[in-house]
Amino acid sequence: MTTATASIQTPVDPHHLGRAGGGGDETPGSGAGGPAPKKIVVAYGFWIFLLSDIIMFAALFAAYAVLKNATAGGPITNELFSRTTVAIETVLLLLSTFACGLAAKAAEAGKRRLAQIGLLVTATLGVAFLVLEIIEFAELIGKGAGPDRSAFLSAFFALVGCHGLHVAVGLLWAGTMIAQFKAKGFRADIMRRFACFNLFWHALDIIWVAIFTVVYLLGTLP
């Protein structure tokens, strides 16, 4: 009887996800299996939050694109941005994302020291990124190109500043994770929190890709 059922089910449910099994299905997240594991639900919820965050950035990008030429007689993009700084910032953030991924793998393997070192590298690279950005902002404001100079500069500081703010929050979160690994170990809830941090940090790098292309590279074309 069992083999007969299996042979009937195979074409209906080729990946064995249990979605087509009907009432007798014991897979969590479908049929009689009850709700999906908390790990799945939490990460999915955080993914929805990240997408809403990306939509907020889309609004800031739209504002920047619309106001790019509204310089009110002030400095234009080509006079303000340095490609060298942006290249360094990009490399820092990319390596930081990579280190974060490795820390996640170390945590999965239950290696606490490695996970903490990975997170420390992640955070250090993040701090370096943030310092470079703050220096850049300070230079701009010192040159009289602060957010109050023109609509273009307001949009620029809103967009890039919002990303910087996210990085700062992420750094705080990374520090918290390092401390919680020490204080609480690899408990299920800590691992879920860490998975969310991982998603957050990777998403920030995706937004940075858009920023360095749209703001800095397109803004410094001859």
Partner: protein, 131 residues
Amino acid sequence: MSKTPIQSHSHGDAAPGDEQSDILAGISGYVIGLVLAAGLTATSFWVASTNMLWEPGVPIGLCVLAIAQMGVHLVFFLHITTGPDNTNNVLALAFGLLIVFLVIAGSLWIMANLNANMMPMESLTNLSMQH
């Protein structure tokens, strides 16, 4: 009803960022992602600074490279794949992308239209001079 041995999946969904493989394979995935992302970034900076390319095509090329790199990040770092257990995540992403597209394209379209229909500055000043 006993489970057949082929049913190795213990659950039906994958979380974003989730990966069902061993540690070494996971790390190699991150390394591939890093190499691809670094290559695309380097290409972006090269495209923006070189004189070898046809200039009007450069902005479009940069946008394509950026979108490609975002795709690399999504697949290799966030592990959003086309796998059958990833349907929910992909659907949420697709909806998010739809909203992003509407917000950006809609804003640009409406504002360009408003600018095009705006009365030129000179005629505005002329109007005020007549009073």
